[in-house]
């Protein structure tokens, strides 16, 4: 609680003092390094779709990269979803797996709960590209 008070009363005004520009750019400059990026409508839609994942792992059985790419092989696609939903910082651990995806969309047809896996992976990759460009 005292930490939150410190953030609200001291750290946040202090950060605001030195930032100039439109609100979104200012927010990103101040908070993107901490992994705090604003949630957009598409982000929420993607998160809702991903929440249907039950981590059954079937998508890995048909993913050509699960065998070939060590980053995917070590972690697995469900783990990517879980990491992303935990915090944006942890999603960095899944970076290798996301970058390796070749968008073959084979995983979409095998998901028992109908999660649009390829679309989510594409969204996560694209989202990270934007964040890297904006905030580092």
């Amino acid at each position: 609680m005292s930490y939150l008070a410190y953030r609200a009363l001291l750290a946040h005004p202090w950060k605001r003092l030195w930032r100039r520009g439109p609100g979104r750019a200012r927010f990103l400059a101040a908070y993107a390094p901490e992994g705090l990026v604003p949630t957009r409508v598409e982000d929420r839609r993607i998160a809702e779709a991903a929440s249907a994942c039950v981590a059954c792992g079937l998508c890995e059985s048909c993913c050509p990269l699960a065998v070939a790419a060590p980053a995917v092989r070590a972690l697995g696609l469900p783990a990517v979803f879980r990491l992303y939903s935990r915090t944006a910082e942890l999603a960095g651990l899944a970076r290798g797996a996301l970058d390796a995806c070749g968008s073959c969309t084979r995983c979409d047809a095998i998901c028992p709960t109908g999660v649009p896996i390829a679309a989510i992976v594409a969204h996560l990759s694209a989202g990270r590209a934007v964040e890297r460009g904006a905030g580092g």
């Binding site: 039950v54 981590a55 059954c56 792992g57 079937l58 890995e60 059985s61 699960a66 065998v67 060590p70 092989r73 070590a74 697995g76 047809a109 095998i110 998901c111 028992p112 709960t113 109908g114």
Partner: protein
Amino acid sequence: MAGPVLETDVLVIGGGMAGAMAALSARASNARVALVRRSPGATAVSSGVLSVGDDPRALPGDFFASRCSPGDAARWVAAADPDHPYARVGEGLGEIEQAIAFAAHELSALIAPPEDRNRWIMTPYGSAIPCALCQRSMAAGDLVEVEGLVAVVGFRGHLGFDARLVAQGIDRLEGLGAPRAEAVELALFMGQGESIAQPFALAQALEAPGAAEAAGELLGKVLPAGAAVALFPPVLGLGPQDGGPWKSVPERIAAAAGIAVAETASDVPSVPGLRLQRAIDARLAASGVELLQGEVAPGPGGPGAPLEVAGRSVVAASWILATGRYLPGGIRRRGVLQETIFDLPVEVGGWPRRTSTPMSTGSLARRPAASLTDRDERALQPLFRAGVRVDAQLRPLDVDGRPVHPRLHACGAVLGGHEPAADGTGMGVAILTGRLAGRAAAGKL
């Protein structure tokens, strides 16, 4: 609507165990059958063994006290629980033995021949579960049959399987007559910068030429004295691939190590579950069932009217609903529980026979799903027993208790009254009701 109209006798919606049994049994009655499914369902993430029922008089885990056959166990279940699909099918339950034999025959490439008792197969958690049918790769691990030491084999770095936990689980059953067990570890797939730890990747790696043989040779060196069977994690290959001669991974390991090889039942991600689904798909294709992949768009008419299936128009005299329950989405929770394709009423049977809040048994629940759980976590949970209510011919009933349509049938986990995840009858219900529904649908042509 693209494509010509597909005319067929029976349309099965859902391609798991229940849908497959319905389609194959309708084919066996010489009907033309089409089967549509969106994706693999709960069968593909199942443990890979097919449980029909357990002896209710035996203590939990006391397998030597369990002497009744799977069919008799199903009859016990039906006598004890009038809401269970085993009881709902009435005289149809008399066919449980034929249904089990039918499933074993249709899937004989994968399933070991049935016995007149339950087999007891170890799980990765160190417990033993009874099953009427198991995969050929598991049969040698039947605890009742093993004579001698069980060597529980783990792969180094495979986090999904703790060989010592499984060995301890077998040792705990020793007083009941189980064999002794010892854990061994194979340092395979973990050298020179490669680390294969995921079940599907392990299964594919073992199918590579020479890999199973290498595992077998390694195993031969570390086997404890007196070992009669090597019990592996459930990663021994994904099964027959298209074309070419094929020898199963357990056979290859056994030949190289000189010992019988078996695998345990599976957790998710489930290699045996996917293997089972693939065997089902292969059998459906081989028996001449028209397979469609996609969604079903419900229309105004009943069976006999055109139905939009996977972007095509399908006209079938009978429809069989085999869409499963929560995981594949046959039943969804949108505030209240709903059947997703035909919006059939969902019942929550058996609620609450053992609790104090009265509600008529078998009432067609239109109440918030959150109110359908019992605080006692050991009790049967009404939420998990929810499903479509059917008559003895497996026709779904409307709110007044009349069949919705004379040629609409339902089978498998979409039926209410049983708890597939907990009561050990999930696959048995799929096999029995699938067979009965398929034959009933084909018989009305």
